[in-house]
């Protein structure tokens, strides 16, 4: 299912349909996380990707495209070359995967509880993740300020021009 919708995402010529297929792909990936018993990651996936990024992409599509406009077809030569490159790279990685023996541990039966995730995220001792947590929060702040700055500049210029 993931693969079918992924292919449809990159192959669909109507851009809105591509966005909706992307939505279905992301939901299927969330289902895969549920299947692997990582419920917290699945919830984050649904909230951030499905709820946030796809909505952003749809908004920007509405702002920049006419409804029902088709994408131009990429040239056949380029499509073939790219397909072959991607296909052979996939074959290469697949052979590596096929011949490699993993030392698989016995999967722990129970899922990781959210309480443990929270404790590890704010722990600065062994196995704690407080430094990347802070770095990511600074990055998010910088991204927000950057977005506002980008949005402001043109407005000021347009104002001056008019």
């Amino acid at each position: 299912m993931i693969l079918v919708f992924g292919v449809l995402t990159v192959a669909s010529r109507k851009i809105f349909r591509a966005a909706i297929f992307l939505l279905f792909t992301l939901i299927n990936v969330a289902a895969l996380y549920f299947f692997l018993e990582y419920e917290f990651i699945a919830a984050v996936q649904i909230v951030v990707y499905v709820g946030g990024i796809v909505v952003l992409i749809l908004f920007s599509l509405f702002l920049t495209h006419r409804v029902n406009s088709d994408l131009p077809h990429p040239s056949a030569m380029k499509m073939i070359v790219t397909f072959l490159a991607a296909f052979f790279a996939f074959g290469f990685v697949y052979t590596l995967l096929y011949w490699h023996e993993f030392a698989e541990a016995v999967p722990v039966g129970s899922a990781v509880p959210v309480r443990m995730i929270g404790k590890a995220m704010l722990n600065y001792g062994e196995g704690g993740f407080v430094l990347p947590f802070e770095v990511v929060s600074i990055l998010l702040l910088a991204a927000m300020v950057g977005c506002i700055a980008i949005a402001f500049k043109t407005k000021l210029k347009e104002h001056k021009a008019s």
Binding site: G6, L36, T154
Partner: protein, 102 residues
């Protein structure tokens, strides 16, 4: 084939679908969508390795959380830039945006 290899196979295929879409599309928003596909493949990889190889640790899980966060920030910035470019050029095809070319 074990279950782990099957899920890894899915994630590799998803990654190369993303590569294909990124290289063939000339529209910035669809390129962004292809990048999201690739990031999702990477996330699946982290989760699978965490689950089947190091089930007692949580490193892969945290990497996935941080990647999702950074992907959200990246998508927001990219869309701000795209809308700005659209205002300036009236197009979001990457061929037509050539102000920085010399």
């Amino acid at each position: 084939m074990s279950e782990m290899k099957f899920i890894l196979l899915i994630s590799f295929a998803l990654f190369f679908i993303g590569v294909y879409g990124f290289l063939t599309r000339r529209n910035m928003i669809t390129m962004l969508m292809a990048v999201e596909l690739m990031l999702n493949a990477v996330n699946i990889n982290f989760i699978v390795f965490n689950k089947f190889l190091y089930a007692e640790k949580m490193d892969g899980l945290f990497f996935t959380i941080f990647i999702i966060t950074i992907a959200a920030a990246e998508a927001a910035v990219a869309i701000a830039i795209i809308i700005n470019l659209y205002r300036k050029f009236n197009s979001i095809n990457e061929n037509e945006i050539d102000t920085l070319k010399w």
